[in-house]
Amino acid sequence: MSILLRAGSPGSHAFTRADFALDSDAVRPRVAPGSPRRAAADLWHDSARMGIEVSHVSKKFGSFVALDNVSFTVQQGELLALLGPSGSGKTTLLRIIAGLERPDSGTVLFDGDDATRRDPRDRGVGFVFQHYALFRHMTVHENVAFGLRVRPRAQRPSDAEIRGRVKELLGLVQLDYLGDRYPSELSGGQRQRVALARALAVQPKVLLLDEPFGALDAKVRQDLRRWLRRLHAEIHLTSVFVTHDQEEALELANRVVVMNDGRIEQDGTPDEVLEHPATPFVVNFIGNVNIFHGRVQDGRAQLGPIAVAYPEHPHAEAREASGYARPHELDITREEDGGGLWAVITDVRAAGAVVKIEAGDEEGRLIQVELGREQYESLRAIVGERIYVKPRRVRVFMDPQEARPTP
């Protein structure tokens, strides 16, 4: 579709050539951003980093609550991910940090100073927009130079200095050969890197990225992700990025803040979020999960045939609860040895190091199991076979009680 449209517009030769550049980008990892080490060392000093503290921030758009009393901190030099489904308020939060939105209440502190009402231009943040927002009537070079050119005369570097810095930055994102192009002549991945160079040109104390890789195809996204992680490892610029892609968040960030419905569900390291999810939402949102329904009573959870200890609810009163187990936390046996869930295998995908097995329990509910190849080889289960599924580990959360009117 896009190729047809480009071919259709008169004078499109330049675009076609740019497309070639994109293709070779995707094929040859050489062009994908490499080590930013050399240039980065000249551009940053350790003092130029900032910690951010967001406290009790709320924001409504009309009657829609975008953020509901959100608090969290970003440590100096951290690479933090705001992870959540669309509409969870993560972008609004990022825009409030950048000063592009005003919170209805709450404060944003930069290194302890109240910056809630500070104009975006005085915040020292670099912002990378989801759709890049490059200035389309300016060349790549001028886009990157913009932040330096608009400085008050006293702080503005000379033309030669600006040229030098832009060259350096374009080298950093490996686009120095494209300085004279216009944004419309670049591929998505190239635009994204220009946007990054432009944001870095003003030496921000914090870098904010809104769904930075959302509009790119898988291969380019992989390369850019790797590159961004390396860049961060080099310059330790405090960075916050928004994403709905849990894989991206877990792979890239030092810390992940999971958001839902304008609230923070969990704030922790990728490992904590993955292995010790704080709420049912986090378990569900991050990774595949099997859910077993049942009840808790007297410090025990009974989820069908599965029984586990649940010291959080030692009371005699029974409560509805659900247990969550990831596919790799389930074992399959042929013989019933107590505490296993009866199921029939419906599908086996044996490609790769992990064998994915799908089974249906007696009520037809889907159970997903992932076994290591060796484990699977010794079991050799086939479709249609009756097996027992037993979780090695279950996380139990009580279901929210339905609000009953108090008598």
Binding site: S9, R121, V150
Partner: protein, 298 residues
């Protein structure tokens, strides 16, 4: 949008896709009808204007144009346009900005109101100004008491011209502004640009061709306006006659050749406008196509 671009693509390849288009005689008929129509209603009048203007030779033509009343009419027309166009430029940019980039109560009302001069007959607009500023009008006594003359004088002519030519700039730039969104402006702000720098370096370059197009249309309307100006001018020769009014006066006095000579001036202005407009349109088309490609690629 895709359809629009695809159609443009097909344009150069009509022959290759002959089996997909209408039969030859249909195409021929359509072309003939539009050509005949064009010559009858547009080309013929234009030729007539110039032949009539030069019917009594070059000297008579020169005399008719250099006659003091004609010169004064030309001057007044230029003055009215020189005030109306900048005024509508400022208004158009403000309104376009507000409508395209903000949400506010009454936005749809403003959008509709901008089109009012298109919907209302210019004569009625002129009457409204008479009713407001005329001797018997609402503000008449106050104006008379302060010795300010509006109606049957230059101010009323300017007012009427501003009124009839005011939608053009806003109409042209609203879609351009809406299409470019606010992200580039936000990016500029975060990068440290002031409001003025953002406008001059980011917003203005993005809308400049649309803006220029709007100005051209606005100017054409301002110079050619007859109805509204005719009601409020009083048609005092050498004082409150604009070019179109002067043409009518001359024609009414059976000075056909002089009337056409002056009319040829207006026709000239129109032709120049058309040429500039074509150039701008070509640029605007290229810019919009760029935007399409950018959008699609993004």
């Amino acid at each position: 949008m895709a359809g629009h671009v695809a159609a443009r693509r097909g344009y150069g390849h009509t022959a290759e896709r002959a089996h997909l288009t209408e039969p030859r005689y249909v195409r021929w008929l359509l072309t003939a009808v539009s050509l005949v129509f064009l010559s009858l209603f547009l080309l013929l009048p234009l030729i007539t204007v110039f032949t009539e203007a030069f019917a009594k030779g070059w000297v008579a033509y020169k005399d008719a144009i250099l006659e003091p009343d004609a010169l004064s009419a030309l001057w007044l027309t230029l003055v009215a346009a020189a005030i109306a166009v900048p005024a509508n430029l400022v208004f158009g940019v403000c309104a376009g900005w507000a409508i395209a980039k903000f949400d506010f109560p009454g936005k749809s009302v403003l959008t509709t109101l901008i089109d009012l001069p298109f919907a209302v007959s210019p004569v009625i607009a002129g009457m409204v100004f008479l009713l407001l500023f005329g001797r018997q009008g609402y503000l008449g006594p106050w104006l008379a008491a302060h010795d300010i003359k509006v109606v049957f004088a230059v101010p009323a002519i300017v007012l009427a011209t501003v009124f009839v030519s005011f939608p053009f700039v806003a109409r042209e730039i609203i879609p351009v502004m809406a299409a470019s969104g606010t992200q580039e402006e936000e990016a500029a702000r975060v990068l440290g640009a002031t409001g003025l720098q953002t406008f001059l370096r980011v917003t203005l370059p993005n809308i400049k061709w649309g803006l220029l197009y709007g100005i051209i249309l606005c100017n054409a309307r301002a110079m050619g306006e007859f109805g509204a100006v005719s009601v409020v001018s009083g048609k005092i020769r050498g004082q409150t006659n604009t070019l179109p009014l002067h043409v009518e006066v001359l024609y009414g006095e059976y000075m056909t050749q002089a009337a056409f000579a002056v009319a040829s001036l207006l026709a000239f202005l129109a032709l120049i406008t058309l040429v500039v407009k074509t150039i701008v349109e070509r640029r605007l088309g290229a810019v919009r196509e760029d935007a399409v490609v950018t959008e699609v690629a993004a």
